[in-house]
């Protein structure tokens, strides 16, 4: 059977890179003695498939993973056993048995919601943020340089920004929420959005990014 599970990544686990997150989850699943299915070959590894990757340093309320099991297990037991073995910061928050007809999690992804806290080096007026956001949404093209396998390329992030809302401003700290495109082929990189906002506000600053939710299509098993 296949289990779809969402693992939250708190601040204590935010610095675990995606590659390491995969390893940590495999080790936890092995400690939990889950009936894992393994790949064939000289170095068998558990059959896990991650819906998407999360950048190092970001936290998340739910990173979706598919796990292939060789015995049936109730989602409740699955969560209980896995949580007893996950290191600080990681928690299985949701699990379900994947319907036999279910497509991969990655293919059902549409978007993601991000909560972003900007710590700026100067105090910020709420009106300035509203104006900056309006400006961003009014634009049709916001270009950023992206490092990829084939070297540098330009990416227009404007079509990837679906929603941009100001939650609060407090001194030099800005709280915002953004909805960005996220599909198997890629999507909005929050760091580009952060860079754009800081540029428009004409300040420097650092950001804490939290993925609140991955949004799946209506016909997806985890919608």
């Amino acid at each position: 059977m296949k289990i779809f599970t969402a693992i939250s990544k708190g601040q204590a686990a935010a610095y675990t890179s995606h590659l390491d997150f995969q390893r940590v989850l495999q080790q936890a699943a092995r400690r939990a003695k889950l009936p894992l299915a393994y790949s064939q070959g000289f170095s068998p590894h558990p059959l896990f498939a991650f819906a998407t990757a999360l950048a190092t340093g970001y936290s998340s309320d739910g990173e979706w993973v598919e796990m292939e099991l060789i015995e049936d297990l109730s989602p409740k037991d699955f969560i209980k056993r896995l949580n007893a073995q996950l290191p600080p910061g990681l928690r299985a928050v949701q699990a379900m048995v994947a319907p036999l007809t279910a497509k991969s999690l990655a293919s059902g992804m549409e978007a993601a919601l991000y909560g972003i806290v900007l710590d700026c080096n100067a105090s910020i007026a709420e009106d300035a943020v509203r104006a900056a956001f309006a400006g961003i949404l009014a634009d049709t093209e916001i270009l950023h340089e992206k490092k990829g396998k084939g070297g540098l390329s330009m990416v227009n992030i404007r079509p990837q920004i679906l929603e941009l809302r100001l939650l609060a401003v407090s001194g030099s700290t800005v709280f915002l929420r953004a909805k960005g495109v996220l599909t198997a082929a890629g999507g909005l990189r929050p760091e580009f959005l952060v860079k754009t906002v800081l540029e428009r506000l004409q300040v420097n600053g650092t950001a804490r990014v939290h993925r609140e939710r991955i949004c799946f299509s209506r016909d997806s098993a985890v919608f």
Partner: protein, 592 residues
Amino acid sequence: MTQEQLDTLLARVTTPARYAGGEWNMCGKGDAFLRVCLCFPDVYEIGMSHLGSRILYEILNAREDTLCERAFAPWTDMETALRETGLPLFSLETRRPLAAFDLVGFSLLYEMCYTNILCMLELGGIPLRAAERGESHPIVLAGGPCTVNPEPIAPFFDAVLVGDGEEAIAEIADAMVAAKRDGLTRAETLRALGKIEGIYIPSAPRRVRRRVVRDLAAVPYLEKPIVPNMGITHDRVSLEVMRGCGRGCRFCQAGYIYRPMRERAVPALLEQAQKLVDCTGYDEVSLLSLSTGDYTGIHELLPNIMDSMAAQKVSVALPSLRVDSLLAEDFEKMRSVRKAGLTFAPEAGTQRLRDVINKNITEEDLLRAVGDAFSAGWSGVKLYFMMGLPTETDEDLLGIADLTQKVFRKYKETPPHLRGKGLRITVSVSTFVPKPHTAFQWCPQISREEILRRQRLLFDAFRQVKGAELKCHSSPVSLLEAAFSRGDRALAEVLESAYRAGARFDSWTERFSQSAWDEAFAERGLTAEQYAHAAPALDDPLPWDHIDVLVTEEYLAREYERALAGALTGYCRDGCNGCFGKDCKAFCEVAQ
């Protein structure tokens, strides 16, 4: 340190997981009467690969009165971030500055990490020199193999533990707890520590004998090791099957300073392996020792552990097999597992030179072992050699190329349906570094020009060799390593100057700063060469004479003379060679 401060630091570094802590099985007790921080003067992924400090971590945390945490050398980006923010170097568990601990212990595994010690002390808020520390500062302790010559780092440490740590660390903790409870002064505390066998107090030098754990079964091994959240260098369950080696390779410091050979029992090892796999979730177990093929229970242990682990999708790795211990049948058993590269260490290219260094391996042994490995499906082979060994001639060097060529031919002779595809022979040639407490402690390292000449000779010879890649070690680092391994207390001044001039992570080629070291030596009117190229007479005093590692000076001198005569010394289990002198019977089962 607050979460916000940590986030600010981690946002500025390339590998934040090195400093984030929060791993599975990490100690979470938070505080205790005695606070100890174990420091490793290299990055997290190397430090966490060190078995010894992980054993000590568990022993200390098992005590109710003691808290033990960890700190690692900050990579240069983190060092910059700490200096710019003014935040102190902190422990991974509670993020306390190093200065907030009662005892700060460093594991010294190689000389080229010494500048990182100074960096960690300074960033941790502790005065570099023991003499500058006051009543409120931690006691700074060193341990690990480099302590068999503690002089080059002596002024920076309050106390130095020479030898095995499992029993000594408990006595150290007892002494520290008593000292803190009774309100002893720093000087009184050091006097109390100095009474513990194996402890050397650099401010009050005296002869000290290496600490030896007589029975490995009587001391704790890993119970619940930390499972890192990031990939580390040795990322697997480490199972120490044996400590010490009785082969007596004359260049090998580990071979002398970990004697006598002490084995763990097969049933205990099988039980430990299972327990460690269960509580870590690792999918690989590595059998550790200096020479795993010499473990008497190897043919009982191997099939058992391989079968039980294979059923759980856990593979078994066997580093440190001696060529002559490899049997075709062992390879057959390993046939079903991953074909990780096999490593052989002939160390020298000709039989004459292998006899000089007492590496009792013949060309036939090596070629048979390599042939067996090829027949069992291996296609990747690593060969380790040393260059600049005492009495080495160009003929010996060319023998390395010749031997590699024969390995290549062996592959060609192996029937294609048996051997693996894509032959890869990696030949790694390091430069001989004379080490204290070895038969070659009186031997000079070859000069920098000579290293380069011999490397060129090798590279030229390897043009004719097919299917092999030759790698040689950097000569400036080898020179410095030789200086510090046989150095005296005067080098502490050079070390501090080099640190002030920016030297860090000196074993990392891309970080090595020649100018920092050149200036540091020049400032003190010294040269690395005068230490590295020194050829003391057998009866000259040596800077490490006061460290008694049990293997006697007389034995080493005898081995030195036998080396020059090309005479072999047998495996110690085939008959005691008397390396501990009058203490043989007291310390070693072989002699009884």
